[in-house]
């Protein structure tokens, strides 16, 4: 009985010393790794890489490209061609009826648009659909334009995938705000598509609207084919 106890104690001691041996060996191996040098080296590499890419200097923002009239612009999953800007005294096929007594006029931008996304898209845009055709701006006007089909004057609400349409974007302007022959600058929108999650799960969202391109043209009667 006592002998068994003694042999048990001896085995425990042997186990403990074996464990200490392994631990000591591991500690010595770990100590061989030059941790300080590694950290300093990694920090140096990080700083050198940052410096190589310009350090903390502000990245210059590329200016939005300048388009020529009639050039196709692709942005915000749309293909847009601006055909011209004209000033009208009458409504025509635009969505705005100018009051003749007050001398109001309608500034109309004619565009060809194709939706290159695989689902229908709102033409005027909305809270979750920024940067659609309705985000085109001209001559410093802040308001959203009213959209209609150039063909029949009907209200344009939806852009079907890959179906090209000609739209009229109309703004109500004062008598002397614009004149024929004025040079005006248009801004064409760009935005980023994302599929929503949680409450908006599965909804297509276009976010982060910004100016994708600018275009300078003169106000004159549009004679589009």
């Amino acid at each position: 009985m006592g002998e068994e106890k003694a042999s048990g104690a001896a085995a425990a001691r042997a186990n403990a010393s074996a464990r200490a041996k392994v631990l000591g060996w591991a500690r010595r191996t770990v100590d061989l790794v030059p941790t300080g040098w590694l950290i300093t080296g990694a920090g140096a590499v990080l700083l050198a890489t940052t410096a190589a890419f310009g350090g903390l200097a502000t990245v210059p923002v590329a200016p939005a490209p300048e388009l020529a009239a009639g050039e196709v612009y692709t942005g915000s999953d749309l293909e847009v061609t601006v055909l011209g800007v004209e000033l009208r005294d009458d409504q025509g096929n635009s969505a705005i009826y100018p009051d003749p007594d007050s001398g109001e006029k309608v500034l109309v931008v004619t565009v060809d648009v194709t939706n290159r996304f695989e689902k229908p898209r709102s033409a005027s845009g909305g809270e979750f659909d920024e940067g659609s055709v309705g985000a085109i701006r001209v001559g410093g006007l802040e308001d959203d334009p009213l959209l209609s089909y150039a063909e029949d004057g009907g209200t344009a609400t939806t852009l079907q995938p890959d179906v090209p349409v000609r739209l009229l974007l109309a703004w109500r302007v004062g008598t002397d705000d614009f004149h024929d022959g004025d040079a005006v600058t248009l801004t064409l929108p760009a935005s980023t598509h994302r599929v929503g999650d949680s409450l908006l799960r599965g909804t297509d969202l276009w976010e982060d609207p910004h100016v994708g391109a600018t275009m300078t043209t003169t106000v004159e009667q549009v004679s589009a084919p």
């Binding site: 695989e118 229908p120 179906v163």
Partner: protein
């Protein structure tokens, strides 16, 4: 001795394998995200009445046309798919209007046009069918495939919808098609 080996070597491996197979099976049988909101689909065919929860639809004719006109004198050129249909509510008129009308062709989804006067957004009457037409403006390259027409009420989430397969390639193009005037079905 034998039981010791079984306990220490065989059992852990068998358990591991069982757990892996179980995990794989669960991943396989789990429905995709959003399945809990999918509508209940009723398949329809031409001239056959199909019913969903609160919607009864008979598609009476399908045309392909180079131009469409409506009874108010509106017309538009393009490549149009025109669906003539009779539709009624089945349970209640409350909220029963035909607001969901889409056509899926390949990976593209089209919605029924809001141009002209069509049956889109028309209020439905319980038990008494009304008739009209829906029109879809499609790009030329969509006409080689087949499409799936989906009709439903305002919000198809967990509601019944009616789906019909349309072979676009088989449809002969007519020069001009007039949209049916919205009215009571005959």
């Amino acid at each position: 001795m034998m039981s010791g080996v079984v306990r220490s070597k065989v059992v852990p491996w068998v358990l591991t394998a069982a757990l892996l197979v179980g995990a794989w099976a669960i991943v396989k049988v789990t429905l995709p995200v959003g399945s809990a909101q999918e509508p209940f689909v009723t398949a329809a065919t031409l001239d056959e009445t199909a019913s969903a929860r609160n919607l009864v639809v008979t598609v009476t004719d399908v045309h392909a046309a180079r131009a469409v006109t409506d009874d108010a004198g509106w017309s538009a050129d393009g490549a149009w798919l025109v669906i003539d249909l009779d539709a009624a509510a089945q349970v209640t008129q409350q909220g029963a209007s035909l607001r969901t009308a889409t056509l899926v062709v390949g990976n593209r989804t089209f919605s029924a046009t809001e141009r002209g006067t069509t049956f889109l957004d028309q209020a439905l009457v319980t038990g008494v069918p009304r008739s009209g037409s829906l029109a879809f403006q499609l790009p030329d390259d969509a006409w080689t495939e087949h499409g799936t027409l989906r009709l439903g009420l305002a919000n198809p989430v967990l509601d019944g919808v009616i789906e019909m397969r349309i072979d676009l390639a088989d449809l002969p193009f007519e020069r001009e098609v007039s949209l049916q005037e919205n009215g009571w079905a005959r």
